[in-house]
């Protein structure tokens, strides 16, 4: 028998052994897969929640708003030119300019339906104004403060208000989720690893004698260990896919409920790379568990 032919037979046999191991203790492997599925479901679920929280926070709170007021009765042509200047300033995302008439209109729209102000009397007393949105990054507020000074220095500008509460909320939520994410991610990775290791150990515990015996009758080390590595990896891939599928189904159901009147919250699916990373992590941890458990 040529050496090559035997190698192929051995490889086939090692892989067949992996499947036989699963088939030989289907309950145990199912339980292991289920445990992993649950771990992945929980890990993925928390990750999804945090990622979406972060996303929603960024959208709603990652900006500071400046309100810039000109003197009532200022020249609107001059004011419009200054709006362009502000729009070009670094860090300014968006600028909405409002003439006194537009201010009145927006004020009226916040009033109860059917009510109207005595228009000319009010309009002439309102100042032209602009709402500038400024993106806040990190916890450093000095760029925002600088911008405030620059806006105040514009000719014709009477007052500039920064919405400080909003700025603080954004920063508080950001630092909070940053603080919570680290420990949570750590705890979850540990949980997945532990479950995978426990499951692999359990699968192996009953077969230690077989592993030992195979060595005693002349099996090469790779032939002894490969089935453990493969079956552990297969079990955990199946388990993590199950968990992530359940998570995806939950997300679909929730997304349907959340993205509709009146909440309009968008629940983004987990990115494909993250899904793949979780599956790969679970497979690697389990394969490692198999490799270690089958060691001498």
């Amino acid at each position: 028998m040529p050496r090559r032919g035997r190698g192929v037979i051995l490889l086939r046999r090692a892989l067949a052994r992996a499947f036989l191991q699963i088939g030989g203790a289907p309950g145990l492997h199912l339980m292991a897969a289920l445990a992993l599925a649950l771990a992945c479901f929980l890990a993925g679920g928390l990750g999804l929640f945090l990622a979406n929280l972060e996303g929603n926070l960024l959208e709603k709170h990652g900006h500071a708003q400046f309100r810039i007021y000109w003197k009532p009765g200022a020249d609107m042509a001059e004011v419009r030119r200054q709006w362009e200047t502000i729009r070009a300033m670094p860090g300014v995302d968006e600028l909405t300019g409002l003439t006194p008439e537009e201010s009145l209109e927006s004020l009226r729209s916040t009033m109860d339906e059917g009510y109207d102000f005595p228009r000319p009397a009010v309009a002439t007393t309102l100042p032209p104004k602009a709402l500038a949105s400024f993106a806040v990054r990190g916890t450093d507020t000095s760029p925002a403060r600088e911008l405030l000074e620059r806006l105040k220095a514009l000719p014709g500008v009477e007052r500039v208000r920064i919405a400080p509460a909003q700025l603080d909320v954004a920063q508080a939520l950001r630092s909070l989720s940053a603080a919570a994410l680290g420990p949570l991610a750590g705890a979850l990775a540990l949980a997945v690893a532990l479950v995978a290791y426990l499951a692999a150990r359990l699968c192996l515990e009953g077969r230690r004698a077989e592993v030992e015996l195979m060595r005693l009758v002349g099996a090469k080390e790779w032939f002894v260990r490969l089935p453990w590595v493969v079956s552990a990896a297969l079990t955990s891939v199946a388990g993590s896919l199950m968990g992530l599928a359940a998570l995806a189904a939950l997300r679909l159901v929730l997304a349907g409920r959340l993205y509709g009147p009146p909440l309009w919250i968008k629940l983004a699916p987990m990115p494909l790379e993250e899904t793949a990373a979780i599956v790969a992590l679970a497979a690697c941890m389990s394969a490692l568990g198999g490799l270690l458990a089958a060691r001498r």
Binding site: M1, G5, R6, G7, I9, L10, R13, A209, E210, E212, L213, M214, R215, L216, V217, G218, A219, K220, E221, F223
Partner: protein
Amino acid sequence: MISAVHLSHAFGGHKALQAVSFRVHKGEFAFLTGRSGAGKTTLLRILHGQLPLQAGKARIAGYDLASLRRGRLPLLRRDVAVVFQDFKILPDRTVAENVRLPLEVCGLPDGQIARRVDSVLAVLELERAANLPCAVLSGGEQQRVAIARAMVAGPKVILADEPTGNLDRDMALRLMDVFKQFHAHGVTILMATHNHDIVAATPQARVLNLEAGFLGQAGGACPAGGAA
């Protein structure tokens, strides 16, 4: 084929083997005797690479145990088969599965495996039990499974550790005939035993007598000792 020079082995403070030297030539049949705890199993385990070589030299089937790399240990074990004193069979597997294991791990094709397993089970009168899980076998049947597994791959050397302890005298003598057939085909056999009947029934074999870790001479065999 097997040689040991000043082989010693200690477990903690307990000296199980003390400067044992002997030589078993290719195609020879040798008994290893000695009272319980004399070190017979220890000696066989060293020769099979299950225990590290602590002191002295040993060679078996062309492998020098002192310089053997880990990766070559499987090759040694394909040439040197052991009948374990405690059988070491897998209780939840069938007899056939237990016996085919050495053939499986060396990559023999399935057809050849089946043929060889069938014939060795027939020789050891185990056909009836071929598909029973080993857990349900009687003590003597389990012992024969252990022997069948050692013989199935056609090794160059068989180290048999008390292979007849659970067999009645008739069965033991029939089994000795099987060992003798292997011997006649050129296989080297080293058999640890307490059974005086089978030693007496095998005049062609030499007897190595271990007493308290020392190797005495018995059975009128050639003098032990000397380098391999």
